[in-house]
């Protein structure tokens, strides 16, 4: 797969990633990311239909913790690290839409 990475792809990805890019950054990233994706063509070109993907280097399964309550953190310590807090909660500016 060749990588005709377009400026609008980069703009769309920036929105998804919650990053604001200047026009200059948009151009630079379009070219730099395009280069990386072009390099990846050596890999994308292979027919690997019969190969299983590996998400983990080793096939560990069934790693659990027991259902035991452990002490939680001190709220004052946590909230002292927060950019903004109120009434024991983390405060944020208004939310424009419901969660998806």
């Amino acid at each position: 797969m060749s990588s005709p990475l377009q400026r609008e792809d980069v703009a769309r990805v920036a929105r998804l990633a919650r990053l604001t890019l200047t026009e200059a950054e948009l151009d630079l990233f379009t070219s730099q990311l395009g280069q990386v994706l072009e390099h990846a063509n050596d890999m994308s070109a292979l027919n690997l239909d019969d190969v299983e993907p590996t998400a983990h280097p080793f096939g560990l399964i069934n790693v659990f913790r027991r259902d035991v309550v452990r002490p939680s953190l001190d709220r004052d310590v946590l909230l002292s690290q927060a950019p903004d807090a109120e009434s024991g909660r983390f405060a944020v500016p208004r939310i424009l839409g419901e969660a998806p």
């Binding site: 990633a17 604001t20 390099h39 690997l48 993907p53 790693v63 953190l73 950019p83 500016p93």
Partner: protein, 474 residues
């Protein structure tokens, strides 16, 4: 500089004290840190208290541990309770974690004295430590050059004799490459051997914590302390720490070592010469050297630069200005998050977040991320075939010696290519060690890389020790 083993022995037998060793370390930091920018934070108070406590416990006759009184430097992507932890990013400036990484607890329990947090490429993304938001670290061997990265600060701390040992993390070579460029021993252990709990994630399936040291023995000792199962990390291997120090001098007689073309081809002449000389040294130590080609390894770079950014794009989503770290205000919560992330992340981090987001996005997943996971399978299979023939593999750690500042920082692809020899082991989850062997231009150190199958750390250290002796650094 005394080795960690010597310091611990001296502290344990009373011929030195933890406080004295700490003061020596702090003095050295005071002397060179302004010039080299190794430490982002030095915890004079906490370290002094810890050292005093060790001395006091020793005076009461208590066993103060295998790293008794040994000052140690921690890469600043490891959480230590109450100590500023930045990942060299503005987005975490001022954050003090309310908990400690498992390995930090283990180090302290073993008597080590954490003296501070070292500089790195922001979120461990880089190969030169030039991507730190708090300025680059300089190579103590030649301050006009980079120390490598991303664990450049931890490598420089040891190279500059600020501490005898330090901790780094290796996602695509971030321990081995700076070890090579700074003339140190650096190991990336088997994935899961060392708990990642409290290591700020870059790429979760590739990240692994490991040791830096001047000697093979110190590296083995340090790894032995931090390794072993941790119930807080679901990807942690289910076994206790292996015995490593006891096997450092096992030698290599009768072993087969594969010299892998793909792991040195394209490197500088001096580097190739060092690799060949290392092969010769191993042969003299009784190894059989087998020339091998593993073509699949050539695909590693492409796979890595999709997998690592993909995982990173998700791992770094939580830096949104809501719960911790920096916030830049915005009209609404989305604007606030975007302003925070835009101001808080540096260019390389943004580049990788963008790349990873793209690789995972609808319509591109199969071609990029999905394909990269399959290449990962090919890499694992290829290594497994090689290890059916030989015990260990040998190659270069880096294509060249430490490079000058700015030499590659404007060309991401050139910088990425610097990791070409180290990446394949991360993809496979296998261990590998870089050990200094020979010198290149300007008499700068060269590192050769030994690679092994999963859980072969003891044998890798034994092989590294053979090279350490052959290189005249016995």
């Amino acid at each position: 500089m005394k080795s960690a083993q010597t310091i611990a022995n001296d502290v344990r037998d009373g011929s030195s004290s933890a406080v004295a060793e700490l003061q020596r370390s702090l003095a050295r930091i005071a002397e060179r840190n302004d010039e080299l920018n190794v430490f982002l934070y030095v915890d004079v108070e906490g370290a002094t208290a810890a050292a005093s406590a060790i001395d006091e416990r020793r005076s009461r006759g208590e066993d103060v541990g295998p790293l008794a009184g040994v000052p140690i430097a921690l890469k600043d992507n490891l959480c230590q309770i109450g100590i500023p932890t930045t990942c060299s990013s503005k987005i975490l400036e001022g954050w003090r974690p309310p908990y400690s990484a498992t390995i930090v607890d283990r180090l302290i329990a073993a008597g080590a004295v954490p003296v501070g947090k070292t500089n790195l490429d922001e979120f461990a993304m880089g190969s030169s430590t030039e991507n730190s938001a708090f300025g680059p670290t300089r190579n103590p061997l030649d301050p006009s050059r980079v120390p490598g990265g991303s664990s450049g600060g931890s490598a420089a701390a040891v190279a500059a004799d600020m501490t005898s040992i330090s901790i780094g993390s290796d996602t695509g070579g971030s321990i081995r490459q700076p070890a090579a460029l700074c003339g140190l021993v650096g190991m990336k252990p088997t994935y899961g051997l060392v708990s990642r709990y409290g290591l700020i994630a870059f790429s979760s399936s590739l990240d692994q914590i490991g040791p830096f040291a001047k000697t093979v023995g110190d590296a083995a000792l340090l790894l032995e302390v931090i390794a072993g199962h941790d119930p807080l990390d679901a990807t942690s291997l289910p076994e206790p720490a292996p015995s490593l120090v006891a096997h450092v001098n096992d030698g290599m007689a009768g072993k087969r070592v594969g010299l892998v073309r793909e792991l040195y081809e394209g490197a500088d002449e001096s580097v190739v010469a060092s690799v060949r000389a290392a092969a010769e040294a191993l042969r003299e130590a009784g190894c059989e050297i087998v020339e091998l080609s593993i073509p699949e390894l050539r695909l590693g770079l492409s796979a890595y630069y999709l997998i690592a950014p993909a995982e990173a794009s998700s791992n770094l989503a939580r830096y949104d200005g809501v719960r911790f770290g920096r916030r830049v205000d915005g009209e609404d919560v989305t604007a606030m998050m975007e302003a925070t992330r835009t101001a808080g992340f540096g260019a390389e981090v943004k580049r990788r977040i963008m790349l990873g987001t793209y690789a995972l996005s609808a319509g591109y997943y199969d071609a990029y991320y999905g394909q990269a996971l399959k290449v990962r399978t090919l890499t694992i299979q290829a290594f497994a075939r090689a290890y059916a023939q030989v015990d260990l593999l040998l190659g270069a750690t880096t294509p060249g010696v430490a490079f000058k500042f700015g030499e590659k920082s404007n060309d991401p692809m050139a910088m990425y290519l610097n990791d070409v020899f180290t990446i394949p082991t991360n993809l496979a989850g296998d261990p590998a060690v870089s050990v200094p062997f020979g010198r290149g231009e300007e008499n700068l150190p060269i590192g050769v890389q030994l690679l092994g199958p999963p859980r072969s750390e003891a044998q890798l250290f034994a092989a590294a020790r053979v090279l350490e002796i052959a290189d005249g650094r016995a």
